[in-house]
């Protein structure tokens, strides 16, 4: 039984790899389906904006007070807050939190949508009409999700740092000019390049995994629920694992 579960997940991941290959091929060759990509960008990107704003805003609030607590404890002064907060947000938290939120917002809804299309036999109808689901349905969502994740990550980094700065100004009596000056010493453009690379990779891997679970979905409403659960968990684990690998690579290179 245990092996059966592993087997199912491995088969689905293999399908995800195949989807990835097809998507990259389509990106190179076309058709690019620009109008559908624009539509999906509105749904995925603008649709996720409120949630990401709220979540990262609160993260910024928490981060400042946590780091201040630690700094006060370790070095018994709080002048290091800007550098530490900025580094932690730009390198890690400003990327991981939006990516995990994108998993549960975009990944889950992609799986639920495609899985309910599958169990109501709409995918078979597509096949009958000789419409390629990967090219027509998945590709625009993949492209939109990748671009949207990068943009939302940059937005969330900005929001987190601004909120962290406001917390530092009101609670720990920093001067905002002084805060940004200290921040600039600790963050350079390489950090932003790393952030964009990381978020692009996260945004790229979420849709193929989600859609692979949906295409393997079987058996009524229960199947849709099962597929969505599996997709969210696998995407979360994929994001965490890739985060570790990319962090290790970047900290070795830079």
């Amino acid at each position: 039984m245990g092996m059966g579960i592993f087997d199912r997940h491995l088969r689905t991941l293999y399908l995800a790899g195949y989807l990835m290959k097809r998507l990259v091929q389509q990106l190179a060759k076309g058709p690019h389906r620009k109008i559908e990509i624009m539509d999906q960008m509105e749904i995925i990107g603008i649709g996720s904006l409120p949630i990401i704003t709220i979540a990262t805003g609160f993260t910024g609030l928490v981060m400042t007070s946590e780091i201040a607590w630690h700094m006060d404890f370790a070095l018994s002064n709080v002048s290091m807050i800007p550098g530490f907060t900025g580094q932690f947000v730009v390198r890690e938290l400003g990327i991981a939190v939006p990516a995990l939120l994108m998993v549960s917002k975009v990944g889950a809804s992609l799986t639920a949508e495609l899985a309910s299309m599958r169990i109501t036999e709409q995918l078979d109808a597509f096949k009958l009409l000789k419409i390629d689901v990967i090219s027509y349905h998945i590709f625009p969502r993949w492209a939109a999700c990748t671009v949207a994740t990068v943009c939302l990550t940059l937005i969330s980094i900005a929001i987190t740092i601004i909120i962290a700065m406001l917390t530092a100004v009101t609670k720990y009596h920093f001067n905002s000019q002084e805060y940004f000056n200290t921040l600039a010493q600790f963050i350079n453009s390489w950090d932003l390049v790393c952030a964009v690379t990381k978020s692009a990779i996260f945004g790229t891997v979420i849709p193929p995994i989600a859609c692979a679970y949906a295409m393997k979905c079987e058996g009524g409403a229960q199947g849709v629920g099962q597929a969505t659960t599996d997709a969210v968990v696998t995407c979360t684990l994929a994001v965490i694992t890739l985060d570790f690998i990319l962090t290790a690579i970047f900290s070795a290179v830079l």
């Binding site: 409120p50 709220i54 946590e66 580094q87 549960s104 889950a108 995407c235």
Partner: protein, 291 residues
């Protein structure tokens, strides 16, 4: 078309767009309030029913076994990686300050108090929360919950309460396991990736992490577990509309749990800081008077 009518039509267009924007944000605001109120009423219903009735021991134990065996592998896997990521990040930051001796303490404290509970709860939202929502939503759309009700049994009593308390209990245990694993994992990563001596790393832990850290992690775990349990059962119980409805319920449950967790993280952080200050103020007061 003269310039005045152009200006008038442009202003009308702008007003229309503004109105639409205000209406949409108002609708989002109202929907969020509805969600919050619905979850709260559902939570009170669960607590009230639980206090009035009894005899849940077996059902809860059965559910705990089911939930924890399904989730433990994933939690251990995620825990190791969360610890590992944090070690790498803190290592790079502390190297600039030449303060690598503090790595163990800082990392352990941050993992247990703050980031560990949050990220592992995100995972639990996907694993336990989405599964429970899918199960209950499936029962709802195939009218099994209505069947239970028509047999004269309260669905809250029969279906929700065992799941709710099982999720709360096993999430707290799973979070504790995940956090312990991530502490151990970060020791191994510090040894192998960032070239720290293991004993040096461990010796700096007690400087930062003590009883209060563990208490704080525990309080956070209980709050996050309650959020996961309540939101997932609520979204599953109120699902509607066939297979599509099940998918929608699962998606919404995952999102709402994540947003509630982030907000609760902030609120609990402020409250715990306040309680911490209060407790230590009392201790210092007691010391001054009694010793």
């Amino acid at each position: 078309m003269n310039i005045e009518s152009k200006v008038t039509s442009a202003m009308e267009g702008t007003t229309h767009t503004l109105k639409a924007g205000v209406n949409t944000s108002f609708a989002v605001f109202v929907k969020t309030l509805e969600e919050l109120g619905g979850s709260w009423i559902f939570f009170m219903r669960i607590i009230r029913t639980f206090r009035k009735t009894s005899g849940y021991k077996e059902a809860i134990i059965q559910q705990i076994a089911e939930v924890s065996t399904r989730t433990i592998g994933t939690v251990i896997f995620a825990g190791i990686f969360v610890g590992a990521i944090l070690v790498l990040q803190f290592d790079v930051m502390l190297r600039r300050f030449d303060a690598q001796t503090l790595l163990g303490g800082l990392n352990t404290s941050a993992t247990i108090r703050e980031i560990g509970p949050m990220i592992i709860s995100f995972l639990l939202a996907g694993k336990i929360g989405a599964f429970t929502t899918a199960e209950l939503a499936n029962m709802r759309v195939t009218e099994q919950i209505d069947a239970v009700e028509s047999l004269g049994v309260s669905p809250i009593q029969y279906l929700i309460i065992p799941r709710f308390f099982a999720i709360v209990f096993s999430s707290v245990v799973l979070l504790a396991i995940g956090l312990s694993v991530s502490v151990v994992g970060s020791i191994l990563v510090a040894q192998s990736f960032s070239g720290m001596n293991m004993y040096q790393y461990i010796s700096s832990i007690p400087r930062f992490a003590g009883a209060w850290t563990i208490f704080e992690g525990l309080v956070r775990s209980i709050i996050f577990s309650t959020i996961v349990a309540n939101t997932s059962t609520y979204k599953g119980y109120t699902a509607s509309g066939g297979a599509r409805g099940v998918g929608k319920a699962v998606t919404e449950a995952a999102i709402y749990i994540n947003v509630y967790i982030v907000v609760a993280n902030f609120i609990s952080s402020s409250l715990l800081e306040w309680i911490h200050d209060l407790v230590y103020w009392f201790i210092s007061l007691a010391e001054r008077f009694f010793f």
